[in-house]
Subunit: 216 residues, 2 copies
Amino acid sequence: MAKSDPTTPRERYRTQVRAEVMERAWEQIATAGASALSLNAIAKQMGMSGPALYRYFANRDELITELVREAYRSLADTLRAAADDGADLAGLAHALRDWALADPQRYLLVYGTPVPGYQAPEDTTAISQEIMATLVDACAIALPTATTPTEPLGAHLATHRTWAAGHPAPPEALALFLTFWTRLHGVLSLELAGHFTGMRFDPAVLFEAELAALLG
Amino acid sequence: MAKSDPTTPRERYRTQVRAEVMERAWEQIATAGASALSLNAIAKQMGMSGPALYRYFANRDELITELVREAYRSLADTLRAAADDGADLAGLAHALRDWALADPQRYLLVYGTPVPGYQAPEDTTAISQEIMATLVDACAIALPTATTPTEPLGAHLATHRTWAAGHPAPPEALALFLTFWTRLHGVLSLELAGHFTGMRFDPAVLFEAELAALLG
DNA sequence: TGTACATCAGTGAACGCGCGTTCACTGATGTAC
DNA sequence: TGTACATCAGTGAACGCGCGTTCACTGATGTAC
């Protein structure tokens, strides 16, 4: 192996163990939620002693940060890939739903009730903005055929658009995005939190109905 | 004091202490979230020793149950009172929003990410259905003037209405209710979770826009 | 190719912490005659 | 009204638990000559 090769065996081993830790962490989150995440429990599950994990993560908060980052990254890539494949706004909506259902706790970690006492670092909000940018772009394209009103929200956003900084989208596209986001999140989060259990209808139908109401 | 009086001094004291425990519990939830709820911490804050609270609550789970019950009860009463005062669906929407903003963690305890490992008891789902019934009734009245489509969701619900058991509402009213609920929850939950911070727009405007899109 | 050294993964013991919960007990409050 | 008894709120000690995290150490893996 060449001296300058950046992936030495040790480095490959490191990233591999890090990956397994995070895999176990996701399993644990899926079972008991993010606030129950425990380094010791993960170590035990991997057949290691607790302190061993401190070779790979500075502390519990860094692990959570990495999980949040991975979740955002995964969603951003999923949506970006769909968009690059020519998916329209409806296609992105379905990609979002599929992603959320594939791992409910991953969705809730990012868009659910915030983990108490945990503050997301700078760069995860950057990925979050990347996600929004992809959706806003699709909204701008879908705008002419959208059937939901973008006023008076669009007018409000025209005078309060300090956000989406540097993103050249008309306020109507931002309005459509916010409507798109909140409506789909409303269905998804109640579905994932189990608030529809007991009512015998199919959440997918509700999701499709909301999508149809947005795009006609 | 008459012998048969059901509120002896001791009973009044009991309910008073119980109330204070729950008050402190709400404060604690508001600060650190529901999963950080600790009986010992509450006792310390009240100047009591930890075990003292076991005179008032069988265990931690019972306290949480009581908090969930209180939250549901509070919302049910708020909406019912508004409806009895002649509020229409828009009025109920504003009552809901005011209630949620008054104590974000109370809203999230009930409609946010479920507390891991906690299972809500029977009677809280009964109160939850009471809340839905109030909203469904208002939806049935608002139906003729509603501007959002209730098809094809209404058709689906017509064949899957095992829920809202015994509530005599047309499927279109149920469809309007589900749309109403998920859209407002979408705005509220993202707002309360802090996902709009950084974007410089007013969530109230988005809320009003969604309401207008529903009712015209 | 072989030896000397440096790097680094993982261990086990330990610290302090706060948690939920049980238990035997004290002392105040209410009840019965 | 006064005394004897029962009720019950609250305490302090204790149990076992799992947590995050630090530290000195062992042993394996890689590197340099």
